[in-house]
């Protein structure tokens, strides 16, 4: 029974992981950008929630929406201000620029919010309730509920909307998409903002569960990359699958092996995948260059 509890806990966190993974796989897959600043969007989502809800007293759910919107706004600025001018530069240049950007945002956050870790007290009831023999905390239910909702909405967006189709076309063949009249600039902006928003949502959702400090983006970033590679670059379903998988494996790993190595689970899975199947569980074959 307790095994199922661990699995359930893992799935819940996995939902948030899926969100941050989807964002990155879309950015990496469609824009071919190794977005090392992705974790910072996660961190900002958490901090914005803190500022809006804990500091300014704005109602919780509204704060979450505002936080996500704020992160999307920042994502928009980054895309237009930094990524767009860098288009055409080598992938190393873009990668290192994003690393620099991530370092900058982290330390800016440290200056704005101080490095003292904060905690956000969720307004939801603190008592867990049981369902089918398993314990659930309301905040965690919120996480998985919102995560599933956002995954579903993103899926609909990609599959049914015009812009979603344009995104998928751009992912498959940039030249052809551009020749067909798809405005690549606009797709890139949209993709990045969407990715940032999902990462911000992930951060805002997990913020009341874990502590918030300026460097939480680092680990989130690395896990996001692990998820993207494990799931397969550019694969939406892969990112979702890998996100949940990572959550569950981390939970089980922490419970049965050692909690100190919990964060290593993602890396170990990543390294295993890179050795055996670099294109990931659901990725396109032959894309490791």
């Amino acid at each position: 029974m307790i095994f199922l509890q661990y699995v359930m806990n893992g799935l819940i966190i996995g939902g948030a992981y899926a969100l941050i993974g989807i964002g990155l796989t879309l950015i990496f897959g469609i824009m071919n950008v190794v977005n090392f600043a992705h974790g910072e969007m996660y961190m900002l989502g958490a901090y914005f929630l803190f500022t809006f809800f804990s500091k300014m007293g704005i109602p919780f759910f509204l704060s979450m929406i505002l936080a996500i919107a704020a992160v999307m706004g920042i994502g928009f600025i980054f895309e237009k201000g930094i990524l767009k001018p860098l288009r055409g530069r080598s992938i190393d240049t873009v990668m290192l620029s994003m690393i620099g950007l991530s370092l900058f945002i982290q330390n800016l956050a440290m200056l704005i919010w101080t490095p003292v870790p904060e905690s956000i007290k969720s307004p939801l009831p603190m008592d867990s309730f049981t369902l089918g023999g398993l314990y659930f905390l309301p905040q965690r239910i919120l996480v998985i509920a919102v995560a599933i909702l956002l995954v579903f909405l993103t899926h609909l967006l990609l599959k049914k909307t015009k812009i979603g189709k344009a995104m998928r076309a751009t992912f498959q063949n940039l030249e052809a998409a551009s020749l067909m009249g798809i405005k690549i600039d606009r797709i890139y902006s949209f993709t990045f903002v969407l990715g940032a928003g999902l990462a911000g949502a992930s951060g805002a959702l997990l913020a009341p569960i874990f502590t918030v400090h300026p460097y939480i983006g680092n680990l989130a970033n690395l896990k996001a990359f692990a998820i993207v590679i494990i799931g397969g670059l550019g694969s939406f379903t892969g990112a979702v699958l890998a996100g949940f998988l990572l959550g569950v494996f981390e939970s089980l790993g922490a419970a049965y092996i050692s909690s100190g190595y919990q964060d290593a689970v993602g890396f170990i899975l990543l390294i295993l995948i890179l050795i055996n199947r670099p294109t990931g569980l659901l990725g396109k074959v032959g894309q490791t260059r």
Partner: protein, 320 residues
């Protein structure tokens, strides 16, 4: 070529007399750290500047070298001389393993793999408390004293002897880099960066050369780690942090990747830059980040390139 050799000799002489002129312990301290970073920069340069592979996880090999050397001393009583050799072996073996598993990977995948390795090792250092004492770290990693009898005692616990020790390894590595680059090995490394398929078609076993360069690169990083450990006499899992990997890459790029003098210049810069930024207090890392962004975007060929452009001296990007 002759001109370059003279310049190199001048720098060597300057380096040899430096501690005699600048006796201030702070200057010596900076020079020693600069030397250690030069080793890291050279190790990155071999990989990035010549074979074109970017590693953002070199802290892994630096840290492994540091821990192995420290544990050799603390647990087995082996002084730094043995420690460095053990560190080289350890880092080389780790590098070999990484090269084997990552050899099919290029670009971003290779980068992420290297980052992952450094992070895993950091977690191992944090959690394997029996071996590494976890977050408490290892202390009292002493540097040896050599009793030369009539010539006196050389105490490597003092900054000046340690400076010369570090300089010794820097010169060795610079020479190694030079010799490698001006050999068929160097040409093979460069051919991997320039056009792997073409290289294979003329008989270059790219995999073998990649493994060789990784092992050499990691060994040098291991030496840097060992030197660091016995200098600061205390290490903790912080030797694996991302910042070290990033700073090493910045040193290689900022100085000028694919050149011989670049890593030295870059390392000196990127040892000093975090120091100069201290005046900004808490904002120091944020400004460092801006420096990183600036150099990566506007000076990707490194300061050496743009400086020589200014001075209109022809220096090519293939290491001559």
């Amino acid at each position: 070529m002759r001109g370059n050799r003279s310049i190199a000799l001048i720098f060597l002489c300057a380096a040899l007399v430096y501690p005699i002129i600048f006796r201030d312990p702070y200057f010596l301290h900076m020079a020693i750290l600069g030397g250690i970073y030069t080793l890291l920069a050279i190790s990155i340069n071999l990989l990035l500047g010549y074979t074109g592979q970017l590693s953002l996880g070199h802290a892994a090999f630096f840290g492994v070298g540091a821990y192995i050397s420290s544990l050799m001393y603390l647990n087995l009583g082996i002084p730094i001389w043995g420690g460095i050799i053990a560190a080289v072996f350890g880092s080389a073996i780790l590098g070999f393993i990484v090269a084997k598993i990552a050899f099919k990977l290029r670009g971003a995948y290779f980068v992420i793999m290297t980052i992952g390795i450094a992070e895993v090792l950091k977690l191992v250092a944090l959690n394997w408390v029996d071996l590494t004492k976890g977050p408490m770290g290892l202390t009292d990693i002493a540097a040896p004293k050599i009793d030369l009898g009539w010539a006196g005692l050389i105490d490597f616990g003092q900054k000046m002897p340690y400076y010369y020790l570090t300089l010794f390894f820097v010169v060795l590595s610079v020479l190694l880099q030079y010799r490698l680059v001006h050999s068929s090995y160097g040409r093979s490394f460069i051919s991997i960066r320039e056009n792997e398929d073409l290289a294979a078609s003329i008989g270059i076993d790219c995999y073998k050369y990649l493994v060789v360069v990784v092992i050499i690169s990691c060994s040098i990083a291991g030496i840097a780690g060992s030197l660091y450990a016995h200098y600061v006499s205390f290490i903790d899992p912080g030797v694996f942090v991302f910042f070290i990997s990033v700073n090493a890459v910045m040193a290689a790029i900022g100085g000028g990747q694919g050149t011989l003098a670049g890593p030295i210049l870059g390392a000196m810069l990127f040892t000093m830059i975090p120091e100069w930024l201290r005046i900004f207090g808490d904002a120091r890392m944020a400004i460092y980040a801006l420096v990183v962004i600036f150099i990566v975007i506007f000076m990707p060929k490194g300061i050496l390139f743009y400086a020589t452009q200014l001075l209109n001296v022809g220096k090519r990007t293939d290491g001559r």
